[in-house]
């Protein structure tokens, strides 16, 4: 059974799909040295860093953009 025309009426429900399992490297953010530039939030392709700079590992694919774009080197990529 599918919806008529395969319409999806549950906005944003890709959240059911935990893409964290794709990850081989994991970003660890050090809030002490963080300068609140928000680069990691802006550039995260998977919208998984919130305003408080908490990383949602359910979705983080471990691309490493956040660490690479962090001007204060506050994010470290470590092997899962």
């Amino acid at each position: 059974m599918v919806n008529i025309g395969c319409v999806i009426k549950t906005p944003g429900n890709t959240k059911n799909n935990k893409t964290g399992s794709w990850r081989t490297f994991k970003p660890i953010l050090d809030k002490e040295s963080c300068i609140d530039c928000d680069n990691c939030i802006l550039f995260c392709p998977d919208s998984c860093i919130n305003k408080q700079h908490d990383i949602d590992y359910d979705y983080c694919k471990g691309c490493g953009i956040c660490a690479h774009e962090c001007p204060s080197d506050s994010i470290e990529m470590i092997k899962e």
Partner: protein, 382 residues
Amino acid sequence: MVKEVMTSNKAVAEAVRLAKPKVIPVYPITPQTTISEYLAQYVADEKIDAKYVKVESEHSAISAAVGASGAGVRVFTATSSQGLMLMHEILYAAAGMRTPFVLADANRAISAPLNIWNDQQDSIAQRDAGWLQIYVENAQEALDTTLMAYKVSENPDVLLPSMVCLDGFILTHTVEPVEIPEEEDVDKFLPPYVPDHAFLDPKQPMSIGNFADPEYYMEARHDMEVAMDNSVEIIQKTCDEFAEIFGRQYGLVEPYKTDDAEIIYVAMGSICSSIRVIVDQLREKGEKVGLLKIRAYRPFPTEAINEVIKDCEKIAVVDKNFSFGIGGALYADMKVKFDKEIYGFITGLGGRDITPEALTEIYEKTKNGPEKAVTWIGLKEE
């Protein structure tokens, strides 16, 4: 009730005015063009409260139609021939996305060679797109069918788009008397379109036109088959409701003098008028002959046809289209569905006039048993 003399194109435009679509994306092409012109004028004169989208191609006409219908409003578009061919890809998308709008196709031959005249190859080529296809015989039927098409398409058990097929020039450019329904009667018959299954509203976000993998695709397509099956009953019901309000009765098929007929012509569109004249002439000579006019080609009304043809001996299917190596599309469908003596006749391609002699010849050939299962009629001798 006003009765006026007009072309089928004008009759379609009048139906559209009465159906009150909100968006009309349309691109001109012979012989549909006057529909696009009438509608542009109606919008310019505020006779329709709609946005007329002056698209740059038929492909964009149908794309804008799907977009607008997806956004939740009633939509109309029209085309012909090459234009319908250009729409081909999006016709499938429209049906798959279950956008229930109406398209009028002024039936015209397909290139090459370039030809602007009537046959039905263009819409027949789209028969598997998931659209309802109704073939009309005259201007009145063009008007009435356009109104009924909305009601059928928008039915929650159908939600498939409809194509109203009217023969190019023979109908689109021929004037004849047409009764124009009263607006209040039409409003009663056809209430505004209020979609539930798909619309675009930031207050209730939904994603439409999505990607479906092998896990879901077959179900989605099968649902369309179910909807198409549902439409058989709904078309008949809609015809009955229409008759109650407007006094003109239509059906999935229309038999003429078939009760005791030994040979039955089966045909679609304007040719049925001429065949009726020939049936009368042959009847006067004592021939037991009748006509079965197919109005609904998709859905294919198997039961309704069977009811009419079950006792006849032979069937002559008249097609204005053909599939290489097979014959006409209607002929092929009849052969698949019915185990009877059925012959196919290809006529009137590219506007070749179908004369009374040609129609009589079809009868004679069927009666005597033609040399071939499929015969081209009206072909010039070397």
